[in-house]
């Protein structure tokens, strides 16, 4: 297998873009139901403001997440797993296969409903970030790399399994004892 596999082969599904907004969208729906259910007395203006605000945030979120998705690239090259991310500040990370510690395949409720899966690849480094930034990003990161994780979300279940298989094969071909530092 000499060709380089990238996100073009196993893309992040567009449906995934909706995932980070599921919570705010459900809040929006509840607000709209409240609005329709209210007997059009006082407080209507307030509810409309809330709906507008929430709608605005959802749109901003959708734009951010989809541009995150646009700017996320990975490629499984011969010796390194290369991951690129960043909308304004670009980052690129090279991970030698020999140092990959474990691979996760995860499906949460959203993923189960839409038949998607997330692949998470971990090595033992903390990346080049300081701990405070790391803590901050841990809470929000859903795509790309941070700390010791590389997250490839929104793959179809079958693609996730194939991708896992490819990376495991790479790990097997690059045992750590050949090359202690991995570089």
């Amino acid at each position: 297998m000499n060709e380089i596999i990238t996100e073009k082969n196993y893309p992040v599904h567009w449906l995934w873009v909706l995932k980070p907004t599921t919570l705010s969208v459900s809040a929006l729906i509840i607000l709209i139901i409240m609005f329709l259910g209210s007997n059009h007395q006082g407080g209507i203006a307030e509810i409309i403001v809330y709906i507008a605000l929430l709608g605005f945030f959802i749109i901003i979120n959708l734009i951010l997440v989809s541009s995150e998705r646009e700017n996320f690239h990975y490629s499984i090259g011969e010796n390194f797993l290369t991951v690129e991310q960043g909308i304004f500040s670009k980052e690129r990370r090279y991970i030698p296969y020999g140092v990959i510690q474990n691979i996760f395949i995860e499906q949460d409720l959203f993923d189960r409903i839409f038949g998607l899966a997330t692949v998470i690849i971990e090595n033992a480094s903390q990346g080049s970030e300081d701990l405070a930034t790391l803590q901050q990003r841990k809470r929000f990161a859903t795509i790309g790399f941070f700390g010791n994780k590389v997250i490839i979300p929104g793959l179809t279940k079958a693609n996730a399994e194939t991708l896992k298989g490819i990376i495991l094969q790479k790990i097997k071909e690059n045992p750590i004892e050949d090359n202690q530092s991995g570089l």
Partner: protein, 188 residues
């Protein structure tokens, strides 16, 4: 229910006592939670309207409470049986694979060479039931959380531990020998 058998699970099966143990643990947790919610829902209205009488809306007949409890336990038991059935672990020639969770599955794959330690432990209920957990961990935090096979009898736990340790040993020495014979190790 169809059990997710692998070669490893056939050889080192999970104990069925695990279902009972987990049912007990989850029941205790859920009842605790319900008690807290109930207590808060009684206390908070009293705190807000100081003069109001305590409205004990949970004035249900004991028989109803028992039926409710029974239903909760039944649901938990069925879920635990499902969890037990889909619990998957397999030792392939190169990797260890553990997968659990019927609704939101999480699967971890670990190469033998990356395992940092293997340990066996028991919590309090495990001691009562005579169960053991086999934990593996690599250098990552999440593997410590995720990679364990719990609810094994003493003999199977020991067997599983030994076979994993053996596999790690073989893997490492095989790689080392390969390096010595080909001289491909740049460090020595």
């Amino acid at each position: 229910m169809q059990i997710a058998y692998s070669k490893t699970r056939e050889q080192f099966p999970l104990s069925h006592k695990k279902i009972i143990k987990k049912t007990i643990v989850s029941t205790i947790n859920i009842i605790n939670l319900l008690l807290v919610i109930w207590a808060l829902s009684v206390i908070i209205p009293v705190l807000i309207h100081k003069n109001q009488k305590v409205v004990n809306w949970l004035k249900l007949p004991p028989s109803l409470i028992f039926i409710f409890l029974f239903l909760i336990i039944l649901l938990i038991y069925l879920y635990q049986r499902w969890y037990f059935a889909v619990y998957f672990y397999d030792l392939t020639p190169d990797f260890i694979q553990i997968k659990k969770g019927p609704i939101t599955p999480r699967e971890i794959t670990i190469p033998y060479e990356r395992i940092q330690d293997v340990y066996v432990d028991q919590d309090f209920l495990d001691m009562i039931f005579g169960l053991y957990d086999v934990h593996l961990s690599t250098a990552t935090i999440s593997s410590g959380i995720e990679a364990h096979i719990d609810g094994l009898e003493k003999q199977t736990a020991e067997g599983l531990r030994n076979i994993i340790l053996q596999a790690i040993q073989q893997k490492i020495s095989k790689n080392r020998n390969a390096n010595i014979s080909t001289g491909s190790n740049p460090i020595g």
